[in-house]
């Protein structure tokens, strides 16, 4: 497969991110204005300076008009992209390619989702006219299949696995409590999590990321132009996107303990970025914790833990904020919230803050390059959309230094 990557060819020079949550008083337009203005101010440019836009939203608007109308963009290209929960990342990825190829000098990638207007519990995704035979399972039910499969394959007893899942939710809420932009900003005890009402399989309410509104944006330029705008840009090292053949649900050999699509996209991303030991080289990772068992499996699929050992690493605190490889330091989908079109960009926003020493109470120690110190300078973001055995996966690597 010829995936050459565009390592160090483009850089982020500014980002903005709204608070995520139940924004009864803000519509899609309001959040787009807010995050775009914040990103432009952060980069020290105006809207007119932007040459092209990539807008990610799954269900909150169609066509580029969803952005150009409220922002009154004057006859510039606006591409609307969607790729399930990787929508925001997809907007970023395509904006990067447009700048790398030289077609545009300054691009904006912006994502938004207004989920709380639907009035329904949980995520609702429309589908085209069909014959009524597709399985009616909800997202929690679909991902709940991971837990018993993982437990069985690696000999973890049911209660112990429940403890692992609880630990993941607890960690993410703990991180989110330190994050002024997160939807949920209170620590939650392990007991509350473990005893929360069951939604599907073993998963309780606290094992599931909530429904949320929000928007985030990034400004991208060619790497050689970055210092015109910003002393400490982030360089894009890798962008990988994989759409699987959706064979898991029809293949008896699929065992629900891994996302093959994630494994492929991670391998591609690491090759593009020149990473050989992710756990040692990454300062942090933002991963798609739509449900707690998803984060567990991702630790292994992304190569942060050996197969079958992820659960032990979770319990040992390896992925805690003060652990060896902090995962979801901003609270993750779990406590930051998951407005579909914005999430991928929100993950990059945390990298934007952490790698440049601006994460405040959440600042990870040992991030290199700050004040001239040595240390890790790269971060990873990951999104997945769809379900076990049938999904799309995105992995990016960004870094504060060239090379």
């Amino acid at each position: 497969m010829a995936s050459h990557g565009i390592r160090d060819q483009v850089a982020i020079i500014g980002m903005g991110c709204t608070k995520f949550g139940e924004h009864w008083d803000k519509g899609t337009d309001d959040m787009l204005i807010e995050s775009s203005q914040a990103a432009l101010a952060d980069a020290g440019i105006t809207l007119d300076d932007v040459d092209a836009f990539w807008l990610g939203t799954m269900g909150s608007g169609l066509s580029g008009l969803t952005l150009s109308r409220p922002l009154k963009i004057q006859h510039k290209p606006v591409t609307h992209v969607e790729n399930f929960c990787a929508t925001g990342s997809e907007a970023f990825r395509n904006a990067c390619y447009a700048v790398a190829c030289g077609a545009y000098d300054i691009a904006m990638a912006i994502g938004v989702e207004k989920l709380k207007d639907s009035g329904y519990s949980g995520l609702v995704v429309g589908s085209p006219a069909n014959d009524g035979t597709s399985a009616t399972v909800t997202a929690p039910a679909s991902f709940s299949l991971l837990a018993p499969a993982y437990a069985k394959k690696y000999g973890v007893d049911a209660q112990e696995l429940k403890d692992v899942l609880t630990r993941i939710a607890w960690k993410n809420h703990r991180n989110g409590a330190l994050n002024p932009r997160a939807q949920f900003r209170k620590e939650v005890s392990m007991e509350t999590i473990a005893c929360s009402p069951i939604v599907a399989g073993q998963l309780g309410i606290f094992d599931c990321s909530g429904v949320s509104d929000g928007s985030a944006a990034a400004i991208i330029v060619r790497a050689e132009d970055a210092h015109k705008y910003c002393d400490n840009p982030l360089y894009v090292k890798a962008l990988s996107f994989v759409a699987g053949p959706a064979s898991g649900p029809i293949d008896p050999s699929y065992d629900y303990t891994s996302f093959e699509e994630v494994v492929h996209s991670a391998a591609d991303a690491y090759a593009q970025a020149g990473i050989t030991d992710p756990r040692a080289e990454l300062a942090m990772a933002e991963v798609h914790d739509c449900f707690t068992p998803t984060e567990l499996v991702l630790m292994e699929d992304l190569g942060f833990a050996e197969r079958g050992m992820g659960w032990k690493e979770v319990l040992a605190g390896t992925f805690d904020l003060d652990g060896e490889l902090p995962v979801n330091p901003d609270g993750g989908l779990k406590s930051f919230g998951h407005p579909i079109g914005a999430s991928g960009l929100r993950m990059l926003f945390e990298c934007w803050l952490q790698l440049r020493g601006l994460a405040g109470d959440r600042q990870i120690a040992g991030i290199g390059g700050i004040g001239g110190s040595a240390g890790k300078t790269k971060a990873l973001t990951h999104n997945l959309g769809g379900g076990p055995g049938a999904c799309v996966s995105f992995v990016s690597v960004v870094g504060s230094e060239l090379g």
């Binding site: 519990s121 009524g132 399972v137 299949l145 599907a200 008896p252």
Partner: protein
């Protein structure tokens, strides 16, 4: 000469204790149980289940030239219901499909039509009544299918019969009403008895038999009192009177005469004579003689075994909810979209027949695909029918968020014997009792109805029940 070639019955998984009715309402109900179709069954889906069984026991290679469907509770008006059964049985388009619907007498119509053409008669019913009333407690839900054919193939020969027809308003319902009305009972008894006498007498004469030669007397009809009186005056031997299953199933309307006939065929000996006397706006008597082919064509499970394998713990509130008599608070989720007709027609083989596709390497794709998962080859598949194939639960989950008339939804990933994996709903199941490794079989159900369109498709159910369509 013609007769019945094979038979199959479907008794739904749930039964309601009649005492549960009185416990809830303070009156009504009675003793024993009545069978209750699941929330995901209707007369069409139950008809499919019965038809699959009857065809499983018909001679090899038999393809019915016609399916005739009878019910008092059709899923559709203006649209033929038998065509869905035709599709689920994957019959060729040259086979006909017709309905004979609206009343118990419709069943005689279906059997007559099937008899004329050597085809399949499917009788199915869901019987309800106003809560607390006798129709509710005395009714039952069931479906039966009979393959009719030549005397040379028959397990029971048609040896005679007679009708006595009259017009009188004893039981009636205007379309759209949810319950029937009945004139005072003594009037119906007065109207029916002379018709019974005439029809039975004429039938016996046509076969050259006396009543004491009848080995099995079935008397059935919706007028309970007239039926009881008829049984007394017909004058058959006491040992010949057939239990009408009122204490277990209830009266299954258009399916009931045939259901009692199946019960008799389950145990009749070659040479036995059977009289089926149906009181339904007149009286019809049908005489049959069992042949020595009966032994080889009995289904794996008898009607009584099927009834014994049901669950009599249904709550009255569930019965009312499932029949649409109690509108419950729905979850805060959108209702499903109506199934769209063009894609449904394109995927007819999958949706109704459960046909998957198998590639050249033997990999089964469910739903059927044009492109092979492993080789990428296009249009090099053969269709393979999974409806009668057993499967094993590979994994499952209980979904408490999904929309259902009977939550929670149990979603299972099942692996078919011989290949093929499929994610589907489980039904007729206790969510707490499901285990990985459980064996399941496929069952045809109505998933939901939206904008008046019924969404038919397949679910899986545990194999612990008796009576599996493909079992020999």
């Amino acid at each position: 000469m013609s007769g019945i070639v094979s038979y199959g019955a479907h008794v739904p998984y749930w039964r309601l204790q009649r005492t549960a009715i009185a416990a809830a309402l303070g009156s009504g109900g009675g003793k024993g149980t009545r069978s209750v179709a699941s929330y995901d069954e209707d007369t069409t889906s139950m008809g499919v289940e019965a038809a699959r069984r009857a065809l499983a026991w018909a001679p090899d290679g038999f393809v019915p030239p016609i399916v005739a469907f009878a019910t008092t509770a059709p899923a559709y008006l203006d649209k033929t219901n038998a065509t869905a059964i035709h599709a689920a049985l994957a019959l060729p388009s040259s086979s006909a499909a017709v309905d004979s619907i609206g009343s118990v007498r419709s069943a005689a119509g279906a059997m007559m039509i099937a008899g004329l053409r050597g085809g399949l008669a499917v009788m199915s019913d869901i019987r309800t009544g106003l809560p607390g009333g006798s129709d509710e407690s005395a009714g039952g839900d069931a479906a039966v299918a009979l393959v009719m054919g030549d005397g040379d193939d028959a397990i029971a020969l048609d040896i005679g019969g007679a009708d006595a027809t009259a017009e009188f308003v004893d039981r009636w319902r205007v379309p759209g009403e949810s319950a029937s009305k009945q004139w005072e009972e003594r009037f119906g008894e007065h109207a029916y008895l002379p018709l019974v006498e005439q029809s039975v007498t004429d039938a016996l004469k046509s076969a050259g038999l006396t009543i004491t030669e009848i080995d099995h007397l079935i008397v059935t009809g919706l007028h309970t009192r007239a039926v009881a009186a008829a049984r007394r005056v017909i004058g058959a031997r006491p040992d010949a009177i057939v239990d009408d299953l009122a204490g277990t199933v209830g009266n299954s309307g258009a399916a009931h005469a045939a259901l009692l006939l199946c019960d008799v065929l389950d145990r009749a000996a070659p040479g036995d004579t059977i009289a089926v006397v149906t009181l339904a706006d007149g009286c019809n008597t049908w005489l049959l003689r069992v042949t020595d082919r009966i032994g080889a064509r009995r289904p794996a499970h008898t009607v009584r075994e099927m009834i014994a394998a049901t669950n009599d713990g249904l709550a009255y509130a569930s019965y009312l909810t499932w029949r649409g008599l109690l509108r419950r608070e729905p979850p805060r989720r959108p209702e499903p979209d109506r199934p769209a007709s063009p894609p449904s027609m394109r995927s007819n083989a999958w949706k109704y027949g459960l046909f998957g596709s198998r590639d050249e390497a033997g990999f089964v794709h469910l739903p059927p695909a044009r492109v092979s998962m492993e080789s990428g080859a296009i249009d090099r598949m053969e269709l393979v029918c999974m409806a009668d194939v057993r499967a094993t639960i590979a994994t499952f989950t209980v979904d408490r968020l999904a929309f259902s008339l009977s939550p929670p939804v149990v979603a299972a990933v099942i692996d078919f014997d011989g290949g093929g994996r499929f994610q589907c709903e489980l039904t007729d199941v206790d969510p707490a009792a499901v285990q990985i490794g459980d064996r399941v079989e496929m069952t045809f159900r109505r998933l939901y109805t939206q904008d008046g369109i019924h969404d038919y498709f397949w679910k899986a159910r545990p194999l612990t029940r008796g009576a599996s369509p493909g079992e020999h």
